[in-house]
C-alpha cells in the first residue's frame, strides 16, 4: 500500500473511525495526486461515505490524519475546507429546496472575492447548460426530479473551481447519456482546471475507465489500491464487492 507521495494533493493517513461498536473506517491510507481521478469502491457499509465525511470535516476521525495541499485538516470546519478548494456531493442529493437552480449555484460563492464571483456568475449558467438544466434555471430546486437534483448538485460543486472534489455516487439515477457527459466533464476539468476528484461509485466499469487510481474499501479497511485495472482483478475485491458469477454488470 503506497502512502502519499510528496506532491499529493490529498493525503489520507491511517484514518480510523468508530461509531459505538461499529468500526466504520479502519486505518485507511491513500492519497489523491494533483490532477487525478481516484475511484473509491467498496460494498455497502464499507465506510466510503464515512471516509468522505471525515475528509470533508463533517466527522472528526478517531485517529489518523488528513492533509490537504500539504496542511492538516484536523479541527477545520467544512466551510474552511471549502475555502481551501474542497467541494463535495452527497449520496442522497442535497439541494436548497426553495432556491432556484441558478441560486443554488450561487450559494458556494458567498465568501469569494467580488471579481471571482462575477466571473463565477457567468460560469454558473454555462454549468447549467452543461448538465442540461438551463431550461430549469429559474425553477426552485424542490420541483426538480431526483436525477435533476443530482445534476444540479454536480454543477454546484464545480462552480467555485475547486481543487478537489469528493463525489458520492454522482451517477446514481442519472440517465446514461448524461452520465457520459458528466464523465467527460470530469476528465476535462482535470485536464483544463487541474482539479482532482475522489469519486465513490458502484458503476465500476465507468469508474475504471475514468480513474487514474482506484481504492477499494472492505469493512472499513483498504482492500486494494492501485491502477484501476489491477484493483478490479484483486481477489478480495471480486469476492467482497464485484462478485464473480457474471462479468461486472
Amino acid at each position: 500500500m503506497s502512502a502519499a507521495g510528496a506532491e499529493a494533493l490529498l493525503t489520507i493517513d491511517g484514518v480510523g473511525k468508530r461509531f459505538g461498536g461499529v468500526a466504520a473506517v479502519r486505518d485507511v491510507s491513500f492519497s489523491v495526486a494533483d490532477r487525478s481521478v481516484v475511484g473509491l469502491i467498496g460494498p455497502n457499509g464499507s465506510g466510503k461515505t464515512t471516509l468522505l465525511n471525515i475528509v470533508n470535516g463533517v466527522l472528526a476521525p478517531d485517529r489518523g490524519e488528513i492533509r490537504l495541499g500539504g496542511s492538516a485538516t484536523a479541527g477545520r470546519r467544512p466551510s474552511d475546507l471549502a475555502a481551501l478548494g474542497l467541494a463535495r456531493t452527497f449520496q442522497a442529493a442535497r439541494v436548497f429546496r426553495t432556491l432556484t437552480a441558478m441560486q443554488n449555484l450561487f450559494v458556494p460563492l458567498l465568501h469569494q472575492k467580488a471579481l471571482e464571483r462575477r466571473a463565477a456568475h457567468r460560469r454558473a449558467f454555462d454549468l447549467l447548460v452543461f448538465v442540461g438544466l438551463e431550461r430549469h434555471a429559474d425553477r426552485v430546486a424542490s420541483e426538480l426530479s431526483g436525477g435533476q437534483q443530482r445534476l444540479l448538485e454536480f454543477a454546484r460543486t464545480l462552480v467555485t473551481r475547486p481543487r478537489i472534489v469528493l463525489m458520492d455516487e454522482p451517477f446514481a439515477g442519472v440517465h446514461p447519456q448524461i452520465k457520459a457527459t458528466l464523465i467527460r466533464c470530469i476528465r476535462e476539468t482535470v485536464s483544463r482546471e487541474g482539479a482532482s476528484f475522489l469519486i465513490v461509485s458502484h458503476e465500476v466499469p465507468d469508474l475504471v475507465a475514468m480513474s487514474d487510481r482506484m481504492v477499494c474499501l472492505v469493512e472499513g479497511a483498504v482492500a486494494a489500491w492501485g491502477a484501476p485495472a489491477d484493483v478490479v482483478q484483486e481477489e478480495k475485491v471480486i469476492d467482497g464487492y464485484l462478485g464473480r458469477s457474471e462479468e461486472p454488470a
Binding site: P43, N44, G45, Q91, A92, G146, E169, G173, H202, G243
Partner: protein, 234 residues
C-alpha cells in the same frame, strides 16, 4: 393507465397523456431521461398524486382517486426514489411498520415480518440498529424489505439499485425476477438500462411526460446504444 394527466401544481401537468399497461405477473420497465416523469408516474399509480385526467386501473377498478393508504390495502407497494427510512426507529421497527396495513391481525403481521427477515438474513443482524445509522445501501435494503412485508401483488419500484454495490444490485434484480416468479406484477423505473432491460418483459420509454417508444424486451436488446441515442433525439 390510460390518458393519464398528473402533476404537482394545478394547471401544470407533468404527465400529459401517458398510456401504459403493466401485465399481471410481468416486469414492465419504464425508461426515460431525467425529469421525464417516471417517478411522477409511479407516485400517481401509488396514489400520492391524483390524476388530473385519465385513469389508473387496477384490474377493472379505477383507483386513481383513492388515497395512498388504500392502495397498500389493494396490494400495491411502492419503493420510492431516494431515501425513505425512519432514521430514529430501529431496523426492526422500520420493517414492522411496512405491515401497518395488517395491524388488525397481529399474528399475521409478526409472521410476515419474520418471513421478510428470513428472506434477508443480513437485516436480521442489523435489526436493533437505528435505521439512520446504516449506510446508504443498507438503508435501501431496509426499504425493500419494508415494502415486501404486506406481500404486495403489484410492486412499483423506482431505481432500486441506486447506491447498491454490484453484487447486491445483481441480487436485487434477481430478487425482482424471483418476485415475478411468485406471480407479482412489477413496474420498474430505472436508469440502469442494461440491467433493467435484462429482466424486462415489456419496456416503455417516456419522454417529456408522454409515451415515446415501447416494445418487448427483444426490441430493445439489440442495439442498446442506438436506442438510448434514439430517445434523446441526437
Amino acid at each position: 393507465m390510460s390518458g393519464l394527466f398528473a402533476g404537482y401544481v394545478p394547471g401544470h401537468p407533468i404527465l400529459r397523456g401517458v398510456d401504459l399497461t403493466a401485465q399481471s405477473g410481468r416486469i414492465t420497465v419504464v425508461l426515460g431521461p431525467n425529469g421525464a416523469g417516471k417517478s411522477t408516474l409511479l407516485k400517481t399509480a401509488a396514489g400520492f398524486l391524483v390524476p388530473l385526467r385519465g385513469s389508473v386501473m387496477l384490474g377493472d377498478t379505477d383507483i386513481g382517486h383513492l388515497p395512498a393508504h388504500r392502495h397498500i390495502a389493494l396490494g400495491i407497494g411502492l419503493l420510492p426514489q431516494g431515501r425513505s427510512t425512519f432514521p430514529d426507529l430501529s431496523v426492526y421497527e422500520n420493517i414492522e411498520l411496512g405491515g401497518w396495513s395488517m395491524r388488525s391481525d397481529r399474528k399475521r403481521l409478526a409472521a410476515a415480518v419474520e418471513a421478510v427477515l428470513t428472506r434477508y438474513p443480513h437485516l436480521r443482524e442489523l435489526r436493533h440498529r437505528a435505521a439512520g445509522s446504516l449506510s446508504g445501501g443498507q438503508q435501501r435494503a431496509v426499504e425493500i424489505a419494508r415494502m415486501l412485508v404486506p406481500d404486495p401483488t403489484v410492486l412499483l419500484v423506482d431505481e432500486p439499485s441506486v447506491g447498491l454495490s454490484p453484487i447486491v444490485a445483481r441480487q436485487v434484480y434477481q430478487e425482482l425476477r424471483a418476485l415475478k416468479a411468485e406471480g407479482r406484477t412489477i413496474l420498474l423505473v430505472d436508469q440502469d438500462v442494461r440491467a433493467a432491460i435484462a429482466i424486462a418483459d415489456y419496456v416503455y420509454v417516456l419522454g417529456s411526460g408522454r409515451n415515446d417508444v415501447e416494445g418487448d424486451r427483444s426490441a430493445f436488446e439489440g442495439d442498446l446504444g442506438a436506442m438510448v441515442r434514439g430517445w434523446l433525439g441526437v
